[in-house]
Symmetry: C2
Subunit: 415 residues, 2 copies
Amino acid sequence: MSEPWVKMVTAQTPTNIAVIKYWGKRDETLILPVNDSISITLDPAHLCTTTTVAVSPSFVQDRMWLNGKEISLSGGRYQNCLREIRARACDIEDKERGIKISKKDWEKLHVHIASYNNFPTAAGLASSAAGFACLVFALAKLMNAKEDNSELSAIARQGSGSACRSLFGGFVKWNMGKVEDGSDSLAIQVVDEKHWHDLVIIIAVVSSREKETSSTTGMHETVETSLLLQHRAKEIVPKRIVQMEMSIKNRDFASFAHLTCADSNQFHAVCLDTCPPIFYMNDTSHRIISCVEKWNRSEGTPQVAYTFDAGPNAVLIAHNRKAAAQLLQKLLFYFPPNSDTQLNSYVLGDKSILKDAGIEDLKDVEALPPPSEIKDAARYKGDVSYFICTRPGRGPVLLSDESQALLSPETGLPK
Amino acid sequence: MSEPWVKMVTAQTPTNIAVIKYWGKRDETLILPVNDSISITLDPAHLCTTTTVAVSPSFVQDRMWLNGKEISLSGGRYQNCLREIRARACDIEDKERGIKISKKDWEKLHVHIASYNNFPTAAGLASSAAGFACLVFALAKLMNAKEDNSELSAIARQGSGSACRSLFGGFVKWNMGKVEDGSDSLAIQVVDEKHWHDLVIIIAVVSSREKETSSTTGMHETVETSLLLQHRAKEIVPKRIVQMEMSIKNRDFASFAHLTCADSNQFHAVCLDTCPPIFYMNDTSHRIISCVEKWNRSEGTPQVAYTFDAGPNAVLIAHNRKAAAQLLQKLLFYFPPNSDTQLNSYVLGDKSILKDAGIEDLKDVEALPPPSEIKDAARYKGDVSYFICTRPGRGPVLLSDESQALLSPETGLPK
């Protein structure tokens, strides 16, 4: 083969949302956490990263494009992932195209990486988790690394801690591990996405005027200054992990919701206990919590759980489609779109929930009655940017259809 | 003396703001706290309760008026205070007017009570602390109880926990005590108001759309559900109390500010760790914290401490007049009054701070430059209702001038 060839792999990896939170590292370089965490993987149909990785003898350096824009790979987090995967690369051979790369060649060959999120990167929707998981998964496949997804998760972890939980579908546990080199700090699947398939997830992307503290900076400051964090990590989380695994295995929604909400609130409590204090939730976040708490109490048994990451967005987990439709009615009552917004661009993802809720257009939103469990029926137009309806989803997959690749098979540059 | 006489006493008692917070009772009836707390007494010239108590053989029942409106005395908290003071009543004799009441008479005689706050009762400014302290102090003087202010504080405590700290000026410590009957759960003065007289206090009364959880309900729910509260009460607060007493005695503002801010934030953290979570601070509170934190950091050494009670209002303690004037400029930059508000009714209390800040009218507020330490120069008009400038102040006093009494000396009814 005289032409300089390009060998490519394209993968798709989901994002995830923790229900028992990761906050605080015991080792900042290896990204080893102070406690175990558990997450739900979100359906990649609505929230995922697609990454194409390519290798070619014609590439003169490692390069990466995120959402079409070239970014630097010089950061330690990218370098860690690239180094760890290269160390595990194996021989590959493509007889048809006459391509052969031996284990030792990988050290000299450069890669091109193109990554794309099917959701807004800056909206605080764990894009780095899906991103690093996808990078590591795709590179491992390209380089024919033999490691299983748990072993790969320990590499993705070194890119972004929560990325390790995006190597599996369903419910995933990140074991904090014990050994110093971090090799046992990896993700395992608790149950797959079919186990509890009637859950529905609604994400409220909340408008915010404040710049948020990055989670890296935030958790560093919490570890340094909070007097409550160690107590949480050592005394409280280990018990919650056991209870949460049991709730998930038994599909015990009442227990699941209680633990999810309590752990989200406690994570934000240790942020507040940080010096200077960190506020990720704002008044809109508080109002969403209040709406869910009042409804759950009026029903006697929880219908919806809420959890918030390092930002004001609410992730709401409904027991089933019926609860999700009712939830969406309540949310649209409190947070109607601005008058210049189309319903179609205000409720994204699985729009069948909107149909279940009996809402077809903005007139239906206007006509929604105030939830009976609330006396104050104030509406907060514009305080939510949009909603995404989704569900628990699968883990990483390879996309074999070359039309889905983000790099050109000829040039190895973004299409 | 044939006419039915009325014997009266009028007292004035300050409010106080905790710098190491009281949150959580170990005994709900006796109001015994889970940890010690420390407060600053605020100058009664700007925030105080005035209470007149009267006794007369013509009174047919105990009655009370608060800010001119009759209220019920049937609540346990009032009954506890009345019973405890009556049990300590002694003989009194007013030879001039021919009045003689013996110790045992007090059980049969009824009292009239009139109480007035020189600040809005519902604004979350600890009106119940000043109120119960004043009630107990005034009744003790009327009934010639021999107890000192610490002993009286243990009675005021049974009306409202934080009331016990309003029996002294300056800085006051509430010892949680050990014994079951609560007799050692009382307030003592750490230093008087002259010890650290250059402190200036600015209170931002924050507008809020949400109804707050009462502190009684809130702390009950925190004790029942927070997994962090006991750790705070047993492991963290005892050390902070020692450090805070030292900071105050040494007038060490850096240490004082650090402890004050950290403890306020931790109190709100345990509120957030409550199930359902309690939010007292709102976006405006967060913005005030952010303003102070950024300024303190830019100066290298703290200029101002902040603390928030069970509501969104900020209590800001400036190191000295210069820092207070700068603080007021920053606050008025971020939170200018609505255009229909007069400056005179927007900055209350000690208006000399406004003069120091070089602000004479609304045009000066409009012309304020954005604080140099902040990039985002957004202004939040209307988010603060008003400011009160004050300072550390004295403890309870008797008002001998009968014109200041709230009850008529003839009828024993409100003037």
